[in-house]
Symmetry: C2
Subunit: 543 residues, 2 copies
């Protein structure tokens, strides 16, 4: 007993049993997309019905003679291996549902042509990285042309999505022309390794999945109240005392390096977040005197509040700590948090009260917060890094550098906030509509998909300041057991919204492509959960 | 940014960020339970602070000299191995939070004493199986006494939950006395292998998890509209044509046997459901003429409705089919479904209209439904099996045998329905409050836990007719990628409700034990998802 039957093509509409929900309307028909299984959809795609054979024996991915990159470009060499495996490494692939007129001709190689002088093989990706590429599939040679390696990575993913097998297992690729580039430069996934520790294996697998979806930022919410798994070389006590376990539940410097390099190889930035002054309970365990002692009347309660903003020692610690962090994480940005500061402990503390008087802050604790943030921003500016902050830092009127990136996460008055932040000239990242930790029954991917990030009142210049968005999977209810299927393919919906053209919004077409894309992720070892009733040719092999 | 901080013991209350939910009130404090990590809680437990050592070297689980079972009882031999591994097979175990006064004495063996004449080693479990046991932990010998092997299995699980390690890794078990038996005889999990095919590995792992939670019925919703993975020997076309794939997405007779035996070894019944006359679209693909042709006016539309109830061929097919099914599945019960029959196709069909006239059913299609069900019940009764049905069969006034089990799944007017069904003298299974396919953000296990199955108006005799319940995980949105973490530990909440005493309902105590129980499941290889912020000593090793 579970569903009143409606036989709709391969799919069946399900009415919820207990009257709690009725999802029938939410389930689109599963149709055939003219774009096969491409995800996210490139900006311009022309697929001809002419199909060429591709053989895993002898097919090569090679550097074009015209390319500025060659075999010493390890990033590309690695990508060639990875995408060869993705393309041919399985007994069978998805048919892709493309129209096809088989042709005796064969595609023998894919030439990768980095067309600018500096391919950026050994660089780190940045928000300014050029991810554009052109892909021309013809026989005997297909060409992937990109100014930089970053575009080549995106194009290789696209290429791997174009190859499919007919019913005899013969691999085909249609004659195709693609010009592609991302709509938004910042396309991120936030993972939280504090509320639950995430084993390295989980993080790396999710970097793989991100690359499959053309994500380019891993926002690593690495520490928080609950645990401090980041192993600091300057302050080793932070993780020894503040992590769930000093050996099994920490990220060593080597782990962190591996994450960063694994991400770089996939064109993904690692933006680490060290959120202060709130969300720092775990910091206090390994750094005595850092947090504010809370009081009941005249007596300390033994509990602690946010970082103590009135002590010089706080800023000395932060200077040294962020010096380390800025050298460990090569990205040009550090995320400094700044959200949800609870004032009650500050209010209770007599020394803080005195300081407030001295500074003339009166009873306005947001001024104290601003005072603290201001000093932290100066410290980090000294490391030559840019910074990202949660929206409260802007809302509270903290003086921030013009190149600060403000992350808008609050759902209420969202459009107003976007208007204000961009109106003030700040670069903006949107995460409010994409808090994937919130789950509900049914096809919630559609809700994420339908978001239009620029749907707020503002000038063209203001809209240009919205450089992207992030899908956030906060860690209250996820760990190694359930994180990956909860994130994918729900985050894939956000990926297409951030990469593809504004007008790519046909839910039915998206549903068809995404259904195939999710099976492709499963085939590649990512336990991406189903969108609805159905099956994959190769089901997930794990548990 | 994700949570206003409240430092509560090892846990932090989280207020939801976007004002969508506020779950702070839902998160109990994580306290220490006097019952360690026991789950579900036994009926009577006395744990002394005196702790004995237990060494994995030399510790034995043996047949008591007084036992009616011996080494030829493969069921127990298998269980000894399994529980030895569970007890000692990990580098470290949970501390269990028990009070402990270490004692130099050691427990050298657990004697398993089957006290009745027939241990039932080679039997299949049934709703009447005796699952009671007594466990007495003392030195040098612990004794597990049970009338039948079924109780011994439950007691072995309990024993394995009592062993813990101190900080040096020394294994201990406290002097303990337990008398235990289930409150309800039928404690089931429904899995749906039609909406998504579930690889054998997933089913077996979930049988393991069921045993860890003392579940005793696997309600196998094996076929439905969407696919027919059951490979019938009499009608092989049913799966050849009706499954997602005739080789990779079917259950062969050997697979089915393996599931049944694997379950039997764990004291779990396998109740197969072959739901008719609705939910049968996939049947029609391999059995022409079985389903009702739908009409638009005088013209067949080419689509089909429920099983055609007016043809003799239907009943000939069903007779042969259920004859096979009743011999393949040894359980005394078959689940015949009977839910959610859509009348629109029947109404459209002129032959059915004629039949209705002939029979004097007028326009009351529920009479036609009853006519069909009646005949199916007679067919199955002829196989000497009992049957289970969804509540509609009762609601529609079908004449059913007095030993029919009615499964109540509709949430609205639930108490009224329980009163009616039991008032009519029928054995009842409750699943309405435990549809685990419905998900929501937060600690929904508490909602499942708080259900009191006998909370309806009725006599003592009526209440006794409620023999248990089932947690149902319908397959719309789950497959191998996400089924296991979505089911556990949410189904563990239902497990304790169905096993333990009515008065076991302290949410805080349950939270403490369940948190440890979920980490134990993770340690045993089951990716059970977290209840809230925190960590397990050994995180899940998979993805």
């Amino acid at each position: 007993m579970a569903a009143l039957v409606k036989f709709v093509f391969l799919l069946f509409g399900a009415t919820a049993c207990l009257g709690w929900q009725n999802n029938l309307a939410d389930v689109p028909k599963l149709t055939v997309s003219a774009y096969g299984s491409l995800w996210p959809l490139p900006q311009s795609v022309h697929i001809s019905p002419v199909a060429f054979r591709v053989s895993s024996f002898g097919f090569q991915i090679v550097h074009s003679p015209k390319s500025s990159a060659g075999p010493s470009c390890f990033l590309l060499q690695n990508a060639f291996r990875r995408y060869f495996e993705y393309t041919f490494g399985y007994s069978k692939k998805l048919k892709g549902d493309l129209k096809m007129v088989a042709n005796d001709s064969e595609v023998f190689e894919l030439q990768v042509w980095i067309s600018s002088e500096n391919p950026e093989c050994d660089s780190y990706p940045s928000v300014k990285s050029d991810e554009s590429y052109e892909l021309s599939i013809d026989q005997p040679t297909a060409v992937l042309k990109a100014p930089k390696v970053w575009g080549a990575l995106r194009g290789l993913e696209t290429f791997s999505q174009l190859v499919y097998a007919d019913k005899y297992g013969t691999n085909y690729i249609n004659k195709t022309d693609i010009q592609d580039f991302p709509r938004f430069a910042h396309r991120g996934i936030l993972l939280d390794s504090s509320r639950h520790y995430l084993p390295l294996k989980v993080i790396l697998a999710n970097l793989d999945a991100m690359a499959m979806n053309k994500y380019n930022v891993f926002h690593w919410h690495i520490v928080d109240d609950h645990s401090f798994p980041y192993q600091s070389t300057a302050f080793p006590n932070l993780s020894t005392e503040g992590s769930y376990h000093p050996y099994t539940h920490v990220y060593t410097p080597t782990d962190v390096k591996m994450v960063i390099e694994y991400a770089r190889m996939r064109g993904i930035r690692v933006v680490a977040e060290f959120d202060t002054p709130g969300h720092t309970q775990s910091w206090g365990l390994g750094q005595k005197g850092l947090l504010t002692p809370c009081y009941a009347g005249d007596t300390p309660t033994g509990t602690f509040g946010p970082v103590n903003p009135i002590l010089n020692s706080t800023y000395e610690f932060m200077t040294q700590f962020f010096k380390e962090v800025s050298s460990v994480f090569p990205d040009m940005y550090i995320h400094l948090g700044g959200d949800e500061v609870d004032f009650s402990c500050w209010k209770s503390n007599p020394d803080i009260q005195k300081f407030m008087d001295t500074q003339g802050f009166g009873k306005d604790y947001s001024k104290l917060e601003s005072y603290y943030i201001q000093k932290i921003l100066e410290i980090v500016a000294g490391t030559k890094k840019g910074y990202m902050v949660w929206q409260e830092v802007f809302d509270n009127g903290v003086k921030i550098k013009p190149d600060t990136v403000v992350e808008v996460w609050m759902g209420n008055k969202l459009e107003e906030e976007l208007k204000k932040v961009t109106g003030a000239g700040f670069t903006t990242i949107l995460s409010a509509p994409w808090y994937l930790d919130y789950i509900s029954y049914g096809q919630d991917w559609q809700r994420y998909y339908k978001v239009e990030p620029l749907d707020f009142e503002g000038t063209e210049a203001q809209k240009k300041l919205v450089v992207g968005g992030e899908a956030c999977l906060w860690g209250e209810y996820v760990d190694a057991t359930n994180l990956t299927p909860r994130l994918w393919p729900r985050a894939s919906a956000v990926a297409e919204r951030l990469w593809s053209d504004k007008d790519v919004k046909d839910i039915g077409d998206a549903y068809s492509r995404l259904t195939q894309h999710r099976c492709r992720m499963v085939q590649r070892g990512i336990p991406a959960e189903p969108l609805y009733v159905g099956h994959c040719e190769h089901e997930y092999k794990g548990l």
